[in-house]
C-alpha cells in the first residue's frame, strides 16, 4: 500500500490520499493523471488494468485502488 | 378511512391550485388586453378589429379572408356605388381559426346579412397547434398579448376594455394601390381533372363559421378573387364541391359567368398574387352588383343615421385622387 502512496505522491503531490474517498468525484485525479497512474501501477505490480476497471469506485480512495490491484494480481495467477 | 381523507384533501388542494391558476390567467389577461381597439393601445390587426368600433347593427356585409380580401374589397367604394355598408375583416395569411375568431368578435355588435369569405384562406395550411393556440388565446388573451408587459400603462390595470375606433378605409388597404407588376396569365385556370381537397381541420372550421353565420341570421357566401398565383382549376373544383356539400353560394371571379375581366398586364402589383387599385375597383363593383341584385342589399345613402359613411366616403375620394 505504501508503494501505491508513493506513486500517487509522485504524480500529484500535496493531496491527502490516506483519508479522501472522493479523488475521482472531486476531480483530484483527472483522466490524464489516471492514465499515468495506471501505467505506473501496471509496471510496479506487474498487472494489466483493462479499461473496464477505470471506474470511480476503484480510484476514489487509496483503499479502492489497493483492492483493485490485489484483485488483479490474484486473478492473473 | 385515512387514505380516503388524504385523497379528498389532495384533490381539494389540486382543485384549489387549478382555480388559482385560472384566476391568475384571467387576471393577467385582463391587464394585457388592449384597452381600446387601436394600434396605439396594443391592438393586434387593428384595421380588421376596427369593425368592433362601428355603431351597432350598422354593417350589412362582412368580408373575411387574407391579403386577397383586403386588397380587393373596398367597403367605401361599395358605399359610393350602391350605399351598402360593409367592413373588411382581413389579415395577412389568415388561417381559418383566426377567421372564426374575427367573425365571433364582429358578430358581438353586428348583424350582417351576408358574410363573404374569400377562399384563399380555405387552402391555407392550418396545423393543430395553430388551432389549439388560437382557442387558448380566445379564452385567455394573455397568450396572445403577453408581450404587452413591455408597454403597460396604469390604465391597463384600472381601465376597462372599449372599442371605439374604426379604420379609415374600413379594412381595405391602399399600400400598393398604384404599383404595377404584370402577371403571366397564360396558364391561369387551365383545365384539369384534379380537385384540391380541403383539409379536415379547415372543414371543421368552415362548418363552424357557417353555423355561426346561420345562428346570427347571416348568409355565408364564398368568393374567389382573381389571382393567377393563388387560384387554379383544381381549387375551383374543390371549393365548388365543398360549397355544394355545405349548401352555400360560391362565386368564382376567375372564370365562368361571374368572371371579372382583369387586365393582368397592369392590374396587379406583384405579378398576379394580388390586385392593385385598378383591379380592386373592378372586383368591388362586381361584388356590389352581386350584393344588390342577388342578395337585396339595402341602399342606405338616404338614411340620416349613416351620415358618417358619407363623410368617410368623401375622405376616401380625396385620398384616391391624391394617389
Amino acid at each position: 500500500m505504501d508503494a501505491l502512496l508513493d506513486i500517487l505522491e509522485d504524480l500529484r503531490p500535496g493531496e491527502d490520499y490516506r483519508s479522501r474517498t472522493d479523488l475521482v468525484d472531486a476531480r483530484v485525479l483527472d483522466s490524464l493523471t489516471i492514465l499515468a497512474l495506471v501505467s505506473e501501477l501496471e509496471d510496479t505490480f506487474d498487472i494489466s488494468i483493462p479499461a473496464v476497471e477505470i471506474v470511480a469506485d476503484n480510484f476514489n480512495s487509496l483503499a479502492g485502488m489497493w483492492a483493485m490491484v490485489s484483485r488483479l494480481r490474484d486473478e492473473d495467477l | 378511512m385515512v387514505r380516503v381523507v388524504r385523497h379528498i384533501r389532495s384533490t381539494a388542494i389540486a382543485l384549489t391550485v387549478m382555480a388559482v391558476a385560472v384566476a391568475l390567467l384571467a387576471g393577467a389577461s385582463y391587464v394585457v388586453m388592449p384597452k381600446n381597439n387601436q394600434a396605439e393601445f396594443g391592438q393586434v390587426d387593428a384595421a380588421a378589429h376596427g369593425v368592433m368600433g362601428e355603431p351597432a347593427n350598422s354593417i350589412d356585409v362582412l368580408f373575411l379572408g387574407d391579403s386577397e380580401a383586403f386588397s380587393s374589397f373596398s367597403p367605401l367604394q361599395l358605399w359610393g356605388e350602391r350605399g351598402i355598408t360593409s367592413y373588411t375583416c382581413a389579415t395577412s395569411a389568415q388561417r381559418l381559426s383566426y377567421t372564426r375568431t374575427l367573425l365571433a368578435r364582429a358578430l358581438k355588435r353586428q348583424r350582417p346579412r351576408v358574410v363573404m369569405l374569400e377562399t384563399d384562406c380555405v387552402y391555407a395550411r392550418l396545423t393543430l397547434g395553430d388551432a389549439a393556440f388560437r382557442l387558448l388565446s380566445d379564452v385567455f388573451p394573455i397568450f396572445e398579448y403577453h408581450d404587452r408587459w413591455k408597454h403597460l400603462r396604469p390604465e391597463d390595470i384600472a381601465g376597462s376594455v372599449r372599442q371605439t375606433w374604426t379604420d379609415e378605409l374600413k379594412g381595405f388597404r391602399l399600400d400598393h394601390a398604384m404599383d404595377i407588376k404584370a402577371a403571366d396569365d397564360s396558364s391561369h385556370m387551365a383545365e384539369t381533372d384534379k380537385v384540391a381537397k380541403v383539409s379536415r381541420l379547415n372543414r371543421l372550421h368552415l362548418n363552424e363559421i357557417h353555423r355561426m353565420c346561420t345562428e346570427h341570421g347571416a348568409k355565408l357566401v364564398l368568393v374567389s378573387t382573381p389571382s393567377t398565383v393563388n387560384w387554379n382549376m383544381a381549387r375551383h373544383r374543390g371549393i365548388e364541391q365543398f360549397a355544394r356539400e355545405m349548401g352555400v353560394d360560391y362565386y368564382d371571379f376567375n372564370l365562368g359567368e361571374h368572371e371579372v375581366p382583369i387586365d393582368w398586364s397592369c392590374e396587379t402589383y406583384d405579378g398576379g398574387d394580388h390586385l392593385n387599385l385598378a383591379g380592386a375597383k373592378k372586383v368591388t363593383s362586381a361584388v356590389g352588383a352581386l350584393l344588390s341584385e342577388v342578395y337585396d342589399m339595402p341602399d342606405h345613402r338616404q338614411d340620416a343615421a349613416f351620415d358618417a359613411w358619407n363623410d368617410a366616403y368623401n375622405r376616401y375620394q380625396q385620398r384616391l385622387s391624391a394617389l
Partner: protein, 529 residues
Amino acid sequence: MKSYISLAVLGLVLIAAVMLYQLAPRRMRPVVLLAASYGYVWMLSGALLTFLLFSTASIWATGMVLDALRSRRAAELAEPGASRRAVKQRYQRLMRCMLATGAAANLGVLAALKYLPFFAGLAKPLLAAVGVAAPTAGLGIGVPIGISFYTLQAISYLADVYRGTISADRNPVRLALFLAFFPQIMEGPIARYGQTAARLWEGRPVTAEALFGGSARILWGLAKKLVVADRVNALVKAVFDDYGSYDGGVIALAAVLYTAQLYFDFSGAMDIAVGAGRIFGVSEPENFRQPFASRTASEFWQRWHVTLGSWFRDYVFYPVSLSAPVKRLSAAARRALGSRVGPVAASGVALACVWLGNGLWHGAGGQYLLFGAYYFVLIWTGGLVVPLAERLCLHMGIDRDGRAWHAWQHLRTLAVIVVGELIFRAASAEDALSMVWRLVTTFSFASFADGTVLTLGMDAADVAVVSVAVVVLLVVGHLRERGMHPLRRMWSCPWPARAALLLALAMVSVVFGAYGASYVPIDPMYAQF
C-alpha cells in the same frame, strides 16, 4: 410552431403517462412507460420508429450472445487441463467480434441516415478520381428523433455487457424501455444501463414529493427555454444568417448571446427531461454542472453535456489510451519527452479520437469537425504547456492558486467557450472562420454606442429580461457550486408555498415567454440529433 410542437407533444404524453402509470398495477407500469415512449416517437417521427426497434432488437440479441460466450468461457476455463491463455484469447476475439458487429450495426444505421450526403461530399474528389459520381441526396428517409442519443446509449450497453460491468438483459421490454424512455430520448441525458434500467422497471408509484419536485424542475426548464433561449434567437439568427453586414462587435455579441441561448435551451431541456424522469422515480444523470464556472477548456467539458463527455471518456478515451499500440507509444513518448510531457503527448491519439467523434456526433458538417478540432488543439496543447506555464508563472511571481490567476483563467475560458460556440453555430466551416476573422478585424463598440444593437431583434425590455435571468442563474449556480440545492429545501415548506412556486414559474413562462407573433422560434437545435 415547429419547435413548440415537440414540447407540446411531450407535455401531453407526460400528463397521459402519469395518469395511466399511477392507475396501472405495478407490473404494468413499465409497459405504460414503454407505450408512452413509442407513442411519443411515433407522433414525432412516424414510421421511423422502426429504426429504434431495430436498435433495441440488435442490442438485445448481441447482449444475449455475449453473455452466452462469457458463460461458455467460464465453463471451458473450469475444465482441467485447459490452457487459460488460449481460451481467454479465443473468447476475447469472439466477443470483440460480437461487440464490433453490434456497435457497427447501430452506428451504420446512424451513419446512413444522418451522414451519407456529408461523407459522400467529403469523398467526392476520391470518388471522382475513380469515376464514380457521389450521391448528393441522402436516403431521403429522414432521421428518427433522438437517434444520435439512443445509439450512444445502445453502444454503451453493449460495451458494458462485453466488459462484464453488467450482465445482458434477457428482458426485451426492460431493455426497450431503457433505450426509449421518452423524457430522455430526444435530447438526452445519455444514461447508462446501470443508472436507469432497474429503476424504470420497478414501477414505483408517483409520490406527491416526486410530482412536486419533477413539476418544479420541468417548469424551471420551460421558463429557461421560453424566456431566454427563444428571446435572443431573433438577433442571433439575424446576425449569423448575414454576418457580413455587421461589425465585429455585433458578431461578438451574437456569439455571446448564442452561447447563452444554447445553455438556456439545452439545460432547460435537460431540466424538463430530469424533472419528467423524477416524477416516475427515475434519477436521470445531470448534464450540466455550472459550465461557466470552468477554468480550463478541459474542465468545461466535464461540466457541459456531462453525459456526452463521460461517454467519450469511458468508451473512447480510456479504451484507446489503454490499447496496446497506444501504450507502446506512450512508453516511447515518456522515454523521449520525460514523464510529464510524454504521457500528455501520447494522449493526443486518444484525444484526437474523442474530438473527432464529438465533433462529428454533433452534426454532419465541416463546422462541427472544426469545432472538434478546435477543442482538441486547445486541450492537448493546454496539457502540453502546463510545465512551461508553471515555470513562467514562477518566474513572473504569479500565484497560480491565487484569486487573480483564477479570475484570468475564468475569463480566458469564457472567451474560448464563446468562440467555440460561434464555430458551432456557423453555417459552415468557411463561415465560421470568416466570422472569427471579421470579429477580430472589424471589432468596434460603435453599434453599442449608437444603439443599433437594440434594433436587431432585441429591445431594451428584452435585454432587461435576459439580464435578470442571467443574474438568477448565476445566484442559483453559485449556490449549487457550494453544494446547496434550493429546490430540495422547498419540499419542507407548507403546501401553499410550494403551489405558489409552481404557479409563479408557470406564470413567468406565460407572461415573459418569447412566443407568439413577434418572435422567431428556435429550430430545435439539439433535436436534429
